[in-house]
Structure formats: C-alpha cells, structure tokens
C-alpha cells in the first residue's frame, strides 16, 4: 500500500522576512539559532524586533544544521555573517554551534520567545517539540519561574506524530484538519507509548475505522498525555503553545477542550519561539557587553 518514495512525515521547511523592515537601517542585528532534534531554526532580530526566520530539518550534524538554518536567513535578506553582532545558540545541539557567541537553554529561550509572540500576559507555555514536551511558567518579562519536561518517551512529541503520518500515509500537515473532520470523537489510542499506539491504530484501521477517525484517536491520545503533564504544574492563563505540534489544530483544539483554557493565537509560526528567544537574548547580551566595554 505504500506509495514509493513518498515520505509523509516530511513537514515543509520555510522562511519568512518582514517586508516592512530594512536591516540596513537597523543599529544592531542579532541572531538566534535553535538546533532541535527534528528541526533547526534561525531567527534574525533588528534592534530586538523579529525580522526574519528560516526553518530546516535537522541533519546528522548539529553544526551543519545550524549553518543551513542561518544560510537561509542570509540568502533571503542579503545579510551576511559579519553584519550579525551577537548570536545565541539554543536547543539540544546548542553547544555544537560553531558561530554562536553563547549557548542558552531552550527553556529560557522559549519563555522569552513566547513572551514576545504571545505578549506579556502569557504565563503558561506548552512547548511541543520533536523529541520532548515542556510546560513552562513565566512572569511578565518572559522569565522562567517553573517548568516540567518529558524527554524520555516519544508519546506526546512531534516525532510520534511523524510516525503516525508515515503509518497512515497522510501528509503531516493534513493530520490536524483531518482529525476534526469526523462524525463523532472516538476513544483515544494508547497515550503511553507510540509503538503501542501504532499497533492500536493499525488494528482499528483493519477493523474498518476511517483514516480520519484513527487520526482523531491519535491526536486525542497526544492531547490527553500532554494535558496530564500540564496538570502536574497547572495552567495559568494566558496559555500559549509553541513548537511544531502547535501547528496541529487537532491536538491544540483537544488540549483546549480537556484543560478548558483557550490558547492564545500567534500570527507568526510558533515553531521559531526558541530561536526568537535566543535572538532576543543575543540583543540584550550585546547591549550589555557594549555598555560594559565603555565608550
């Protein structure tokens, strides 16, 4: 049944540049690079404001993935490495980014990035990444006050979603909308292990369930698992979701339903929240360094 050569888990890479900004007029250009397990993002900020970003799939090497992410920003904007005053690396590959001036944990960066994207009212951030899932509490300045993470198990992560996309041969971007296109919400498949969820999904397909219904059962399992994690430290509004899974409307809607809290919307792709936070930290650090160095 498999379609030769097609890889359904492959989410699309992409870049964006703010057409209203010009880096040549900016005083300070900084960069944040987030090398995650599944995706790598580079964000350029002009004087502490989001300007451009680029997302690529993480390859076998962290330095190459970081370079590829940054290259996309340079190509789209005409910036070059020399124009960038300060670069902060984050994500699981953060210590392995040769051109970064400093490494900062992704938890701090997601806090800062979500504060920028969702506004200072954001108190609870759910970051659903490729290989882990984190709940972060922040104050009005985006500073982390508490966090909890699951990093030992693929259930509730983007990688788990990729596995299901491949199994069902449905492009990963379609999973969310299709999971909502059902007559009745089905019971969830196993929310403890992706491998078990996969066997269950297969059994239900053979049992006559439509693909959409199986996707719904999986999205629900993921939402239930993540909601349990959030429940352990509580959700204080405003609630904001970052990371690749934030783009899966089927998971987001179900999390909102279970928690009884709506997630704040963002006009910008929240998969870049970590890299954005890193670029904002880079700006702060650069200003601090310049001040420290004296006139």
């Amino acid at each position: 049944m498999s379609v030769a050569g097609r890889e359904f888990w492959r989410w699309s890479e992409g870049s964006w540049v703010d057409p209203d900004k010009d880096w040549r007029r900016a005083e300070v250009v900084t960069m944040g690079v987030d090398v995650g397990s599944v995706s790598s993002e580079a964000v350029a900020c002009l004087d502490g404001e989001l300007y451009a970003y680029n997302t690529v799939r993480t390859g076998a090497s962290s330095p190459d993935s970081a370079r590829a992410a940054a290259r996309g920003v340079f190509e789209k904007t005409g910036l070059s490495a020399e124009d960038v005053r300060f670069t902060v690396g984050t994500g699981y590959g953060r210590v392995n980014i040769p051109f970064a001036d400093k490494a900062i944990t992704e938890i701090a960066c997601h806090g800062r990035g979500a504060n920028y994207l969702g506004g200072p009212a954001v108190r609870t951030i759910l970051d659903m990444g490729g290989q882990d899932c984190k709940v972060i509490h922040v104050d009005a300045g985006g500073k982390v006050t508490n966090f909890l993470m699951n990093d030992k198990c693929a259930a509730g992560t983007g990688r788990g979603m990729e596995v299901i996309a491949d199994l069902l041969e449905v492009p990963i971007e379609e999973l969310g909308p299709r999971s909502l296109d059902i007559d009745e919400e089905p019971p969830a498949v196993s929310d403890v292990c992706v491998v078990f969820a996969k066997s269950e999904a297969m059994a239900r397909l053979k049992g006559g369930w439509s693909k959409n219904k199986v996707i719904a059962a999986y999205c629900r399992a993921m939402a239930e698992r993540v909601s349990t994690l959030i429940g352990r430290i509580g959700v204080e509004p405003e609630f904001f979701i970052t990371g690749g899974i934030s783009k899966n409307v089927g998971v987001v809607k179900r999390i909102e339903r279970i928690l009884g809290v709506g997630a704040r919307q963002s006009a910008v792709d929240t998969q870049i929240a970590g890299a954005l936070g890193a670029a904002l930290f880079a700006h702060t650090l650069y200003l601090k360094g310049r001040k420290g160095a004296g006139p």
């Binding site: 076998a60 030992k152 198990c153 990688r159 788990g160 292990c193 992706v194 491998v195 078990f196 053979k206």
Partner: protein, 259 residues
Amino acid sequence: MVTAGIDAGNKNIRVVILRDGELVARAAGTGGFEQCAVARQLLDRALAQAGFDRGAVAHVTATGAGRGVVAFADSRLTDVTAAARGGNHLFPGATTIVDVGAEESRAVKTDGRGRVLDSAVNEKCAAGSGGFTESMARALGMSLREFATRSLESTARIPMNAQCTVFAESEVVSLIHQGVDPKDIARAVHDAIASRVASLVRRVKVEGDVVVLGGLAHNAGFVRCLGENLEVDALRVPEHPEYAAALGAALVAAGRVSG
C-alpha cells in the same frame, strides 16, 4: 486426553497440542486482524499433524494479549501464569522466568513448580520488547539472524542514550551515518533492550536458575547481553522458547479437565 494451548500474542499466534501431558504438535502464524479465525486455522493444522479431529480435544485454554478474542477457547489464562507453567515444565526447579514478547515483556518468580509468587510486567513502553529488534535489524539492513550473530562478534560497548524505541531508531540511524561498525550498533541495541528487561527481572529478584522465554530468546545476542547485565553465567533457554506460553496454557487445560 488431548488438550490445546493457544497463545494469541500481539504479533504471532502459537498453538500447542498435548496428549496425556506429552507435546504432540505445534503450529504458528501471524495474528493480523482476524485473530480468532487464524487461531482456529492453526489449531486445525496442529490437530491434523497429530492425527486428531476437533472433537478429540477435551479443553482449549487461551493466553496472550489477544486471549479474549479466541472465542472458542474453554478457558483463559494470564500471560504471567502461562509463562510460569510453561517455563517450569521445561526447567523444573527454576524460579526466575523471563518472557520477552513482541510488545511486552515480563519477569515471573515461581516456586519452581509453575506457581506464581511474584511478577513484573512492562506494559507501558515498548522499549525492552522484541519488536524493537526487527525495526533495528531493518535499519541496519540485516536479517534477524544476522543481527543476533553479528552482535556476538562485537567487543565494543557503545551506550545508547535513548530510552524510547522511537528515539533509539533515530539514534541508530545517526550511528550508521557516523560510520560506527554495524556489529557494535547491533550489540548496543541488544544491550539497551537487555537493560530494560533486566530492570524488570530485578523487581522480582534474580534467584536460582533464570529461564528466558519468548521469541527474543532465540536471539543469542540479546541473551548474552541479558546474562551480562544480570551477572548470570548461563541463562536457560529451551529449544522452542516462543511456544512456552502456549505449552503452559495446554498444561493448564489438562489440569482443568482432570481437576
């Protein structure tokens, strides 16, 4: 008296026929969706081998994760009890029995005569189960047999960071890209599974002879890693470890007729 034991596992179904406590036939197949129909066909096939018809069977006992689906069974048995009965029939006196299935693994402490004293089951996570070896062997482009024997040739110890099979799969791919010798990767995978299974075994305590059952017991690479991890020199592996649970069920079936 003829009895049958059916082990409807997450992946495969196995049937054992006993006549007066003596094994006379066995059959195996992949369960798929029609588990009940497959179980029936396998039972018929095993009976035909032994020269019996269905009417000759006094009692059928089903075990395994899919035991509830085997509608024609006269009784049912938990996997833990089936492993204990089958394991102790093959190795009387052994008190620690490990059963590694496709998706689940379990450790059972017995009295040496098939009675369960304690057990621990891995049911929340597929790490530490047999299915993992199949996808890893595929990633390395090896047959399962090759995967096991090549791992035995390895003298290097590469730690696997991932605890989850889904993440381990990516880790194996990156080890391949890094040019790590496939035999060392094969061993690392077996070590990872063995360490998960060993932690289950320690929950019931390692005492006396340790018996390994289930399909993964065929994999000498895994058995070596488990022995090393448990610090047990010789693990006891029967000739047909994958049929032990079905055997246990057939023995219990015999007891239910006479008892």
